[in-house]
């Protein structure tokens, strides 16, 4: 199986057995590099064309939520590691990238998010990820590979639970 896809996305390679051995592994808590920011919320809402007053109108949002809130869909953005930072040119990849498997690429197949409190401008989130499952080898229309499942808990700086996120992915070799 020759990977045809350029290996530029920082995946770890290995065997299914090695991947299985990682099931149950929990990462250490990763602290967001940035706080929930109003400007980024505007750019995101401009992309999805969402006119919700909770994202655009500070006065309304202050009254309703105690501040402008983030679209729930931006959960992952607040903890994205920068591609580069001074003195640390190669940040640690997300857990899903660190699972050793033979396949050269990956695609999201599903997400399940539960939210407990809104994310407000100024909140600085942290996250803990666990590898929940790695499936035996399967064949789909995309190609052959393994399904992965991770579960993440997001909290505010003060420990308040913000969200639980289950992510299903397919790590595959294109057909």
């Amino acid at each position: 199986m020759t990977p045809e896809v350029p290996a530029e996305i920082g995946l770890t390679f290995g065997t299914y057995e090695e991947a299985r051995a990682l099931v149950g592994t929990r990462t250490s808590v990763v602290f967001a590099e940035r706080a929930v920011t109003g400007a980024l919320i505007k750019y995101f809402c401009a992309m999805v064309r969402d006119a919700n007053a909770s994202y655009w109108d500070e006065e309304y949002a202050n009254q309703q939520w105690g501040g402008v809130i983030s679209p729930p869909a931006m959960l992952l953005t607040w903890v994205v590691m920068p591609e580069w930072r001074p003195g640390d040119p190669s940040p640690a990849p997300m857990l899903l990238g660190r699972v050793p498997l033979p396949d050269p690429t990956v695609i999201s197949v599903g997400t399940d998010m539960e939210f407990f409190v809104p994310m407000r401008v100024g909140d600085r989130l942290n996250v803990e990820e666990t590898l929940v499952d790695v499936s035996p080898r399967k064949t789909t229309s995309l190609g052959e590979g393994h399904f992965l499942s991770t579960e993440s808990f997001y909290r505010r700086g003060d420990g308040t639970p913000v969200a639980r996120y289950v992510h299903d992915l397919f790590r595959f070799t294109p057909a």
Partner: protein, 180 residues
């Protein structure tokens, strides 16, 4: 006549050199940026340029030196970028240079000259006034026949403090044959 160019998404105004000349000296109304200067965007930009300047990354250092984290000067125009969509319904404002009526169907930037008067600090909300300063006679370059359009953009902070002046020269070209 103004048309939206499919390739660039920018609105380009077409007209004659005389119509263009008539715009010289005209200034746009004050336009405020849709976002404030903010740290995540500063760091995202500095990640792209791989610029480790402490003024962009180290809040403690930046507060002591500038009063707050500051923006890389290169981000001047970023803080005035219109949103791609806005609930208020405004379409992205076309560049003033593209709104100068000329025959040329496309453009390329020729030069940028920026003078800075105050740092752009996190929390600043900038505004800009643009002015057409000059439209050259028809010139022939390696790219084709067209006109050089010079604009001056003046950037200020919300408190009126002058932040920067940017003189931009753009070459508007591409019409096969110039009309009179």
């Amino acid at each position: 006549m103004a048309t939206v160019d499919e390739g660039t998404g920018y609105e380009i105004a077409f007209g004659t050199f005389e119509e263009a000349k008539a715009m010289v000296g005209q200034a746009t109304p004050v336009r405020f940026g849709r976002v404030e200067v903010n740290a995540p965007m500063i760091q995202h930009f500095s990640m792209m340029t791989e610029d480790a300047n402490a003024s962009y990354w180290d809040e403690e250092y930046a507060v002591a030196t500038w009063g707050a984290l500051v923006s890389p000067p290169a981000m001047l125009m970023v803080w005035l970028m219109p949103l791609e969509w806005d609930p208020e319904g405004s379409r992205p404002e076309p560049l003033l240079t593209a709104r100068v009526p000329l025959p040329g169907t496309t453009f390329v930037n020729a030069s940028t000259d920026t003078e800075f008067f105050a740092p752009m600090r996190v929390g600043d909300h900038l505004n800009v006034v643009e002015e057409v300063v000059d439209v050259s006679e028809e010139k022939k370059t390696a790219l084709g026949v067209g006109h050089f359009v010079t604009t001056l953009s003046t950037y200020r902070r919300q408190d009126g403090q002058l932040v920067a002046k940017n003189t931009n020269v753009l070459f508007r070209f591409g019409a096969e044959e110039e009309g009179s």
